[in-house]
Amino acid sequence: MKRAHIISIGFIAVLIGTFIATFYSTSRSTTFAEADLRPEQECKISGTLNADFEIIYDPEVDPTKTVFHMTDRAGQTKRVVLSQPKPTGLENSESIDLYGSSQGTDFHANKMLMKCPSKYNQNNHIIVEDEGSIDGKAS
């Protein structure tokens, strides 16, 4: 057995160990229903902004609290409390990824990613309504 071999085997062991270790630090992308089953555990939930509810951001009361409603991929809507100032473009967002945990009836998010329709959008197209009137619309 060469020393290089022993080291290589040691490194492969470390490598496998690292992979297994990361299973415990990754979060899970789930739905609100599943997050409710595991309260206070971090997870990631994707969905869209529910425009039927108002976005509440009152910086004079609390500059780092934004409350809105999101509908997850399974169709469930839940009140979301985001501990951040209201992100620019939230109203127009196309999809939202929340990182946080379920706390009672709310979902508390500490991090949020948004896809806005215009950011890097490759699917802009133009629709024409009737004769002459023309409008740029992002799909």
Binding site: A4, R28, Q84, K86, T88, S118, Y120, N121, G132
Partner: protein, 928 residues
Amino acid sequence: MMSAYTGEWIEVAYLGRFLIALGFASAFVGLVAFIRKWDSIKRVAFRIHAASIFASIALVFLLFIQHRYEFQYIWKHLNNEMPMRFIFSAFWGGQEGGFLLWMFWHNVLGLILLRTESKWSDVVMAVLCSIELFLTSMLLGIYFGDFQLGLDPFLLLREAPNNIGLPWTLRGDYLTAFPMFQNGQGLNPLLQNYWMTIHPPTLFLGFAATSIPFAFAISGLTNRDDRSWMKPALRWSIFGIGILGTGILMGGAWAYEALSFGGFWAWDPVENSSLVPWLTLVAGAHLLLINRNRQKPIAYFSTVYFLLLSFLLVLYSTFLTKSGILGDTSVHSFVDSGILPQLLAYLLTFMAMAHLMLLRSSKWKRASFVLFLLIGIILLKGWVIEGLTLFMLALVILAVRSYLRDFIRTKEEDSIWSREFWMFVGSLLFLISAAHITWQTSLPVFNHFLEPLSPLLARWGDHYDIELFRDLSQHNLAPGTNLDQTYHLIQVPLAVLIMGLMALTQWLKYKSTPGRVVIKNLSVSLIISALSTALVIGSFDWEAWEIPRIALLFTSAFAVFSNADYVARAVKSNWKSWGSPIAHVGFGMVIFGAVISTSQKWIISQNQIGDISTLNEELNNREDLLIMEGDTLAMGPYFVSYRDRYQEGIHVKFRMDYFEKESIQYQAGDVVYFDGMVFEAHEGHQASDQFADDLEAHWMFIPFPNERQAKATKNWKAGTPGDKLFTLEPRIQLNEQMGNAPEPDTKHWLNKDLYTHIKWGRITPPETDEEGWMGGRTHTMQVGDSMLIGHTLMTIDSLRAVSDAEKPSRGLLAKDLAVAACVQLKNKALTAVHEPLYIVRDSTIIPDLYEAEAFGVKMRIESFDPNSEQLEMTVWEHESVRRDFVVMQAAIFPLINILWLGCILMAIGSFLAVWTRWKTDQKSKSNG
């Protein structure tokens, strides 16, 4: 019947498509010609290819300069308002431009390679042609039914698939008839930044540079007894390390200067996927260094494999970021533009090709080729996951088989005091680091592979009661948000070892060095780095769990000083050998600066008053602060005042004045309020930054203040604002189409940066009713409570019943019951008491809207509870007295310049190393 279109540059579209097609065809001819060694045409074919790519790039630029909005690519990435200095950013703002940029560098490098003839040239150029062939296909824009081959940069807007058939496309005069074709969508405001002008070309040159060592490694596999390919491969590898490293850090600089996430590195999938090829390239280059002069190679397989891997990882990174498979896990990623299958085919072809070339036996080669074809058919049939699993399995088998059978192996052992041995260990460490990052980044891809296994995993999980299997069967892994656990847990210890090796290995010689000499040589830098680490530990606060970080600070300092010492003592005046140690000093500084500026980032805009957090039961990040126009707040070592905002072009700028903090001296007997409690000083002292630091030593809690104490009490302050130091102007870029984008402003010093960012700011006046009143807010208050309404301090002094005598003058009936709240209003100019009423008539509440005109405040008591003496009051504010405010974040990044200086040194060192190797290789060639 199609009418003729007027005003279109249709000829340019035809010319552009012709050039792309010519580029595609000539790349193919070049590929065949270089393989078949058709000497008469191979070079010509490549030159034609390069010329056609350069010409199409020039054409796209022409379209940008002329604002030809009939072209989809121009319409999407340009508008009339965009300053022309961002034309480069706009050019590579989309995928088509990104591919063109990448190809541009391949062609520049290819033309350089054409000038130097060697026995490896043909294979190298053939590989380059094949890479270019695939890249050009990404721009063909041909449709086979629904299948799209490439994105055509010269596509006209009216020809775009989602516009075809719409009525306006049939009008010949559409360009003049509709105003929307006079202007485009414009560039994403985040990309309108000078870093976006230089970061992408540098990064893509780095990507292109990984193709050359890849090509040389392939050429080396065609003739395994000759290892002279290693010299040019080494030069190009070091070149790639320098450029790619600089490009990655420029991306970090862009994120730091222009993006709002408050740092230069966020372990974002896109950042990661450019870092990983760099890591493997570094590993590969160091193995080349070991092997280039040896009679008998060691780790020959790894040397070749790492070089192959770097380019394959560049392709993988392209696939991840451009195919849309990352979905929402990255802020940078592109949406699926329909070229996913093509990108996947590109990646798989080169993976298969590289692994085929590893084999020596032609029988195995042929068999594997057939196997790959079969897998290709399986994939085309739609069994994607099954096909890919088979593919990965085949790759592993080929790699293992060739490792065991097809490479020269050496039996001799290297000394433990040799440079080779530790370089080899270091390379493996780099590989682990790369594998871990790739793994984390690839979780969205991995989920797709777990999906078909899901029932099996669930069954196993239940049968053997293993939670991990049950968990995996959900196939919903996502990268964690806690970076310390997700990345630093693994990467920091690896970096500790790598930095340690960098310090040690420079002083080792090839073959062997006496141990005592090495230790003696290292002792000086060891002492200096221990001292400097001690200094850093002393100057900042650390917690126990940060020990790995401190270890990393130590070993990276060790790497810096050891390599600097090596320059000073070992190579001294021989400046041609400075390249490598200087690059290593730079890399050590990058890591040192990154660790210290990130872990000791001091967010000074934190809420320091305790009771703010108790107001909100819901969690609070407490890193952002609301500041009213004209107010001055203490923040860390400064006082910050929000002066005003103004608009300049497309930017709304917020002027934030920073003032010096003058310390405050408290005398014995001074009485202060803090956090709703009263304290008395029992000795004179100078206030610290935090009240908590002074509390125990200097202050006494007074539960029941006497009259003197109650009268003398003032709010506790850490200091008072002194001279104005500077003004920062964070801004919000207005962009109707893309959404407004906030941009931070940063003040730079030698030893720190101060970053100031507007998290939320109003750019339009708030909504009001016709009379100018802004939406009211209801508060629960009791006697003694005060509240700030704009400029006015409102205090409820007392409550009293309205006497019968004054009822008529107040417009009340005798039977009414009324309570008056004595509300004191106070602003800078005047103080007055107002008395809104709470009226009950025949057990019905009569609302009484009370307006204090002079203050611009309107109030109404909604309810009153006589038992608790609490009342609910709605207060409106008039826009004339409204004060503007912003929610801001400010942070100090200590010693971040070490990082940037390290980056510059790393680049300089790399180029020096490339240059000296070029010179010495030239000399040895002419001599031998």
